[in-house]
Symmetry: C2
Subunit: 430 residues, 2 copies
């Protein structure tokens, strides 16, 4: 029997909303937001969407009206009572009351600020201007909306049956990935795929697949809403936006050079244990380690998020040793462009030498390579980055020059200040 009431109710939806909760975002956003709330409430930061895969003409594929409807829907969201209860009562990284009551009260009152959307050629310019604590919240939902509208556009002409086969193929692929990972000694892996996911329901499915298929090797998900609903760990620490904003606000080159460490000093004031994971690559990993104060080496671990992951891990090990730390007690989290082969390679290389974790992103929650019509679901690389802070331009160098962002003259200045030498350009697939 068809449930007529449900059927009729569904007709009344104006749109099928992609992001339906303030918590449909990555956990690190909340950790960073609490620090921003505590220390930088007056700072204004502009974020912007950048599609690094310019061959994907987003503005031709995605209707501007549909995009506005989705973004407007996000602006109508507020934290629900149950969500607030979860943030207040749940244990995160082994700790209760990770979020202070005043920050949660702020989050309860939070509404997404205005956005600026404009078509530029066959791409969109999507900009978020305002207080950092508000604009930072747009990063993940904005990316998720664009990703899912793109998936919908590419699949819109498929029949019901073709769609069923498409998802059967994708499910089979994820399951085969998990089977190849299953039993890998010492594996510890989390879903980091919110921002580039094929769609919300698909990410939710992937998390359940990992939970069922990987057992104890599955750490959790970066997605707060899915972590809450599926009762798994919420995972994540911090991102490039912190050093990028601190760097942009630096008054001179000397302050600029210290900015990445100033971030860490503030962070360790707020968080401890496994949340003390250094993200060293914003302005070049090598220089970061060379100039890092000794107390940074006491942190729990390092996140390797660009460049060759084997080289990045080796740099961290050398740095720990130089600072009298035992690498076996240290954690390296690999989170850049992971696929099953690469995870096997990294695991084989570092197993037994350090503690290893993986943040698996796009090629977990969006591995539709070769499955969509005309390759239209193949991954593409879109990010939401800090453009400026208090009117000053922001810069990221990364360990891969292909990932650098910022005005050319500022990039040059940063390269000089951070003594970034020759970098190996690597293709950015995802």
């Amino acid at each position: 029997m068809t449930d007529i009431a449900t059927r009729v109710y569904n007709h009344t939806w104006k749109i099928d909303p992609i992001v339906r909760s303030v918590l449909d975002t990555d956990f690190y956003k909340l950790l960073m937001a609490q620090m921003i709330y505590r220390r930088h409430r007056e700072t204004r930061v502009t974020f912007g969407i950048i599609n690094r895969t310019t061959t994907v003409p987003l503005a031709d594929l995605i209707d501007e009206g549909a995009l506005r409807e989705q973004l407007d829907h996000i602006r109508s969201l507020s934290l629900s009572r149950g969500e607030s209860t979860w943030l207040r009562g749940n244990m995160f990284y082994g700790k209760r009351q990770m979020f202070a009551p005043d920050f949660i009260e702020w989050l309860e009152d939070f509404r997404f600020p205005a956005y600026h959307l404009e078509r530029r050629g066959n791409q969109y310019e999507l900009i978020f201007e305002g207080p950092w604590i508000e604009t930072t919240m747009w990063e993940i939902p904005a990316l998720a909306v664009i990703m899912e509208l793109h998936s919908r556009a590419v699949t819109k002409d498929l029949g019901k049956f073709e769609l069923q086969v498409l998802y059967a193929q994708a499910m089979t692929r994820v399951w085969e990935h998990l089977q190849r990972l299953n039993g890998l000694p010492g594996l510890s892996i989390a879903d980091f795929g919110t921002r580039r996911r094929h769609g919300f329901l698909w990410q939710d499915w992937c998390v359940q697949a990992m939970k069922e298929g990987l057992g104890d090797a599955f750490l959790g998900t970066s997605n707060c809403l899915i972590a809450m609903r599926r009762e798994v760990e919420a995972i994540g620490t911090n991102a490039h936006e912190l050093p990028m904003v601190y760097a942009a606000l630096a008054d001179d080159d000397r302050a600029l050079a210290e900015a990445p460490y100033a971030v860490l000093a503030d962070w360790q004031d707020a968080y401890d244990g496994n949340l003390r994971v250094v993200l060293p690559d914003t302005y070049g990993t090598e220089n970061f380690f060379q100039r890092a104060p000794e107390w940074v080496a006491q942190w729990t671990g390092v996140r390797v998020d660009s460049g060759d992951p084997i080289a990045g891990g080796e740099m961290a090990i050398a740095w720990w040793r130089k600072n009298g730390q035992d690498p076996k007690k240290k954690l390296a989290i690999f989170s850049d462009g992971l696929d099953v082969d690469l995870i096997h390679e990294i695991q084989a290389h570092f197993q037994g030498r350090i503690r290893i974790g993986y943040g698996w992103g796009t090629l977990l929650t969006n591995d539709f390579r070769g499955l969509g019509p005309g390759g239209g679901l193949d991954p593409f690389s879109i990010v939401c980055k800090v453009i400026s802070a208090n009117g000053r331009p922001a810069v990221k160098l990364s360990d891969n020059p292909t990932k650098a962002v910022g005005p050319a003259n500022e990039i040059e200045r940063y390269r000089r200040v951070f003594r970034v030498g020759k970098q190996v350009a690597m293709p950015v697939v995802v």
Copy 2:
């Protein structure tokens, strides 16, 4: 919203019935039944289930009570009004009123007769005794029930999620099969998989997959219920039970030798066109062709259902030529143990020389090889065969001695009468 009424209604089912319609059977059963109804209403025939894969302990896997419940449920079925209307009004093989009104009236009143079920070691003895016109109707539903109870038994400990992945993998496999078949020049293929299907819903899905994935290369399905519901052609002609019963009833060796041709004489009195397809292998194809009257070569085609399909097709071509027939106008239907590789091989060998059709059975509707827990869903070979007619033992030789059935002394007699020489034993997978 959950439809509470549906949920509560589902609770009231005592069992989940596997066969829910008199039409959930193969089309050839109805064609044969009409001939039996017209000519052999007094003949009594005993059918019995034979599990040729004795390593699969059906009686250990399937609960006897559950099997009885399913068989009893089938005995409660009768032709519905809409089903009767479809049989009366639908066009089969390009012809209206394929079934005479008196036969349909008989079918409307038909109820499945009693069965005899007994556990023998780790297998079941399942026997149907009574008028041929009634017992013949048990073949397909009895097999389908055992197959699906077996599938349910093997998968009963899988979680909801493991089941989803299992079917996603199986769907992906079927779709990949279809993609490998798609575009094969001149392909013409039907689903013949009712009897060994994984389950009813799975067969229904496979038919939809073929319809969507193969376009005009998809001929239809042998399953009447699915043909009706999915509005595709019902496909099938006749089976070994006809010559087996005619042969068992033969009074002497001379009549025995003529029995296979007596079947054909009766058949062509009832059906014409593409329904005139000879099944030559019951007592050896080679001898059948050698001794066939010239009018048999005028029939539309031949079904190659055992032995090496290339050799079988070549024998048919040689026979047609010998009888002055143009093989290019003739049809060969291959229906034994087909998989995609074999279809490619047969197509490459015969394309352009004859008209070719495929009846794809077990490895379409039950290709779960390697997917179930512990290989438990790998195919096994179960048949429902004529044991005796009017008390006389029935025999089948086939072109593969592994498939022979009947008492040993009768098999010897038949081999002598039909001058069956050395046969190549081939493994029977499905």
